[in-house]
């Protein structure tokens, strides 16, 4: 039984996004006059998961593991090499540009860096109002202005700030503009791609709280991409862990933090520093040796085996598939308890 088939029996109306065998390979080319492909970067390599309506799915992993590419593939900002992405049962990968533009009303994105993701020549009001114009959602200029004012106050900015330019705002305020822009078209689904990692510690919590409030108010579904495991635990209902283009573990939030079943998750959790010298020095830490291998030439078998302290000969041969080892807890490690019998 593969991952997808067994996730499938969930009640269909609970699932908003379904990703099946998603692959995104980027070609590596050489040659000046005659360009030819010399290799492929397997940024996302056969990833399957679902996002349920109204939930927050956290997607964590280190830089280069393919978490951002996964998010972009769902939104069709990259057209995937293979696989399907179903939004409310409709296949996004087979849609053309025009159909997709219609779908983008329902799915939006909040980017990581509020400094580079906002056009410096547009005012806050223009930035927030642009999606409304693109989607033709406002009858006249009066309605447009009102909606922009409403959106700004929704994210904790004053309507009078609409005439200011991005450089006049602090990082936290800019991210609020990014949130308002994403919510302008009343989407159902928002990909939050590292929305707080560029912000100061004291501001991060403000934005996380804001995202949670808005989710409750508008029944939003989030894919929350981040590398900060403490923030992800706070905001997510379920968490997926990625490593080198593969999802290695996916489970309910409490299960994955209390009883991680993949050695990579265990190591990742143990590396998170705790802001308390007494607690932090007493914690057991699993140091990972070496570096993440290149996605250009990933290791055979389980991609984690060169850094794994549990690796055996079997790990080097076959790539372990994601299996359910406990109710709702999926892992791709042959050494996980219950993996062989699942």
């Amino acid at each position: 039984m593969t991952a997808v088939e067994s996730i499938r029996p969930e009640p269909a109306d609970e699932v908003l996004i379904e990703v099946k065998h998603l692959k995104m390979y980027f070609p590596v080319t050489a040659g000046v006059l005659v360009r030819h492909t010399v290799g492929q970067i397997k940024a996302v390599d056969d990833v399957s998961f679902v996002v349920r309506r109204g939930e927050t799915l956290g997607l964590v992993g280190e830089s280069g593991c393919g978490k951002t590419t996964t998010g972009r593939c769902i939104l069709q900002l990259h057209r995937p090499t293979a696989g399907t992405v179903l939004f409310d049962g409709k296949d996004l990968c087979s849609m053309d540009g025009r159909e997709l533009r219609g779908m983008r009303r329902h799915m939006q994105v909040i980017f990581q860096d509020p400094y580079s993701s906002l056009n410096p020549r547009m005012t806050a009001g223009d930035l927030v109002g642009e999606p409304l114009l693109v989607q033709g959602l406002c009858a006249d200029r009066g309605a447009h202005r009102e909606r922009v004012a409403e959106l700004l106050s929704l994210v904790g900015l004053r309507a009078s700030m609409a005439d200011r330019y991005p450089h006049e705002f602090s990082g936290g305020q800019r991210q609020r503009i990014g949130v308002a822009r994403a919510l302008a078209v009343n989407p159902q689904f928002v990909v939050c791609d590292e929305p707080v990692s560029a912000l100061d510690v004291s501001i991060q919590a403000q934005i996380v709280n804001l995202l949670e409030e808005l989710q409750e108010k508008f029944d939003l579904t989030y894919l929350f991409i981040a590398h900060d495991l403490s923030v992800v635990r706070h905001i997510s209902d379920r968490v997926a862990v990625m490593y080198l283009g593969h999802i290695v573990e996916i489970a309910e939030r409490n299960a994955i933090y209390a009883t991680p079943r993949h050695p990579y998750t265990t190591a990742l959790l143990s590396a998170v520093p705790i802001p308390d010298p007494v607690v932090d020095t007493q914690r057991e830490r699993i140091p990972l040796t070496g570096e993440v291998p290149s996605p250009l030439n990933p290791p055979s078998g389980c991609v984690f085996h060169p850094r794994c302290w549990m690796a055996t000969a079997a790990c080097r041969q076959a790539t372990p598939e994601l299996r359910e080892v406990e109710a709702g807890h999926w892992t791709a490690c042959i050494h996980a308890p219950g993996y062989g019998s699942a």
């Binding site: 280190e62 495991l229 998170v272 705790i274 802001p275």
Partner: protein
């Protein structure tokens, strides 16, 4: 333990068209030999500028160190002639920067970047410097150092580059290494490797460390003492245990409360510090933190609270420090 570095009332201002920015406004601290000192604050609080001021690397204009003393090994670095300070930089005080990808020269081999300071400061010959470079790369646990010397920075990962940076910093046996956000650009599993390495090497060679970071979690395990900075001033200083377990300044408490912690049960809501960091061009009178502070009174607007002792080796610049400390004691009990 003897004092290695003493910063007294350091003031570094930037003279811009919009006005004077007091990036570092009268900070004082001491660093003992062999000690690891943390300097924690958010972006724009002046923590990096204060480190650059020690090395006299603040771009002038617009920046200028307008006052204070930096006593290192008995001499005031701010008064040294240029030829002398050049002998201190990289030799007695070395720096490790935040972004190893951009702070190494992309067109020089790793070998050249390592041997440059050895030839300059220690007057080694090319062959000696090369041998020393291999030894240093081994020390920072880079596999196959002979071969790696011929590589260029783009052939290394971020974590490996940061090891090279540490090797360069260590190369002339400095007494002090200033690490400015040494792990911020690195992944969490690599962060732990780099910090452990720095701490181990520091202990082994008796090097003192000044670690500058915005992440309270990073220094908890490694720093002996911690300074907290806000809007150009030190607001609190104490042992790591004091700072994390019984903070005596509302800003420190706010920082600690605003981050979710993996070792504690999940809370329904995060507890952020409200408002925005102040604009250094238009600092409010009195305490710079008062507009975001839950404990602020009228007194905080009228006078700036001085940094004063609130416990053994623990100083805070807050009028209500004692209340916070007794609350912390109650929580612990």
């Amino acid at each position: 333990m003897a004092t290695l570095l003493e910063v007294r009332d350091l003031r570094t201002y930037f003279f811009t068209q919009a006005g004077v920015v007091k990036a570092v406004d009268g900070i004082s601290y001491a660093l003992e030999e062999g000690e690891t000192l943390g300097l924690v604050g958010e972006s724009g609080c002046g923590k990096s500028v204060s480190a650059l001021s020690i090395m006299r690397l603040v771009p002038d204009p617009p920046g200028k160190t307008v006052g204070g003393e930096v006593i290192f090994a008995g001499r005031d670095l701010l008064k040294l002639p240029d030829s002398e300070i050049r002998r201190v930089r990289g030799k007695q005080i070395a720096m490790v920067y935040q972004e190893p990808m951009t702070s190494l020269n992309p067109v020089l081999s790793i070998e050249r970047q390592l041997t440059e300071s050895l030839e300059l400061h220690l007057r080694m010959t090319k062959a000696e410097a090369r041998r020393e470079a291999v030894r240093r790369l081994e020390q920072v646990r880079i596999p196959d150092p002979e071969r790696q010397l011929k590589q260029f920075p783009h052939q290394f990962s971020g974590g490996m580059l940061q090891r090279v940076m540490i090797a360069i910093a260590l190369s002339c046996n400095p007494k002090l290494i200033i690490a400015d956000e040494p792990t911020t650009a690195l992944d969490v599993t690599i962060q732990a490797q780099i910090l452990d390495l720095m701490k181990d090497l520091g202990r082994e060679y008796g090097v003192s460390l000044l670690i500058i970071t915005h992440n309270l979690g990073v220094v908890a395990r490694y720093a002996d003492r911690v300074n907290i900075m806000y809007a150009g001033k030190i607001t609190e200083r104490g042992t790591a245990r004091d700072i994390y377990r019984s903070p005596g300044h509302p800003y420190t408490l706010g920082l600690l409360n605003s981050v979710p912690r993996l070792d504690l049960p999940r809370t329904e809501k995060l507890d952020p510090i409200e408002g925005q960091p102040p604009d250094l061009l238009h600092l409010p009178a009195g305490c710079a933190f008062r507009e975001r502070c839950r404990f602020a009174t009228e007194r905080c607007a009228a006078e700036a609270p001085p940094l004063r002792p609130v416990g053994a080796g623990h100083v805070s610049a807050c009028f209500v420090a004692e209340t916070l400390l007794s609350q912390a004691k109650e929580r612990a009990a």
